[in-house]
Symmetry: C2
Subunit: 168 residues, 2 copies
């Protein structure tokens, strides 16, 4: 048996009746939120990072990205979010798979992409992202930012550290 025990515009909380690995019957509460995308976008050899204040965690760096909207595939969402947040568009795109931010709480995935040979343009951030600042750093400096703890977003950190090999 599975039912939704709470829902609002951002998330749905589910309660499933489950049989645990040890045979016990119990319930499993989990959260349904949209999948996300993060993009390692290169302008020349510079990586594009977003420097932004987050309501819940304060100021942090992360890769451009956001939610996959309904009826949108991950690639389209990645292109749209990169364009909205940075103005960058076009270019060559490659998928780097998916990560799961909270495997015990939600099946929601973060789809990882890289893009190079991009064309710069004008960003069109959403009103809630009015303080968003786009910064360009070398890949080496991006690695340092991850290891220093300045990149708070787990999926962004993993993709940045994967890049030299992922793009090889």
């Amino acid at each position: 048996m599975a039912r939704v025990v709470y829902a609002n515009s951002r998330l749905r909380v589910h309660r499933d009746e489950v049989v645990r690995p040890d045979g016990q019957i119990g319930s499993y509460d989990w959260v349904d939120v949209p999948d996300q995308v993060r993009v390692a976008a290169f302008l020349g050899t510079d990586l594009v990072l977003i420097d932004q204040h987050h309501y819940l965690v304060g100021r942090t760096l992360q890769l451009p990205g956001g939610n996959v909207e309904q009826h949108e595939d991950a690639h389209t969402a990645a292109q749209r979010e990169l364009w909205q947040e940075t103005g960058c568009h076009g270019g060559s795109w490659a998928s780097h798979g998916e990560l799961v931010p909270l495997p015990g709480l939600s099946p929601s995935k973060v789809h990882l992409w890289s893009a190079s040979d991009l064309t710069p343009g004008n960003a069109e951030p959403e009103p809630s992202e009015a303080d968003l600042r786009v910064v360009r750093v070398s890949l080496a400096d991006a690695h340092v930012a991850v290891l220093d703890g300045r990149v708070g977003c787990a999926a962004s950190a993993a993709l940045i550290l994967a890049l030299p090999r992922a793009l090889a």
Copy 2:
């Protein structure tokens, strides 16, 4: 104004009245879940990984870890989870900071640790973790597992890729 709009044993959903960066007043729904820990544990030069079926995402590899319990600090939680899941104890421990799995949805952090010179012992997994399997791999093989997509957990993936430099 801030209030809890839903709560169960695993999470609380909050609704805060907020002023957005553009000056608009609105509400922000977010989820409060316990912080977690992930541990890069070395037995000799091998890294310890957990191979487990997850109810929400299927079979995946991740570093040992779990929730920080109430009245427990992150280091104590990391030592407890490593011992429960793998039997490893003792050793030398180092913090590698924190990552945020879903910065827009929850302020919950994953605290990253490494441990070396560990003493092997008998695992005592919780009943819900009865299918948990401990595997030992070289750091190089762990990197390959991340890049192949076999390590689903975002924080585990980031810590594994950070290791050569974090431990240098």
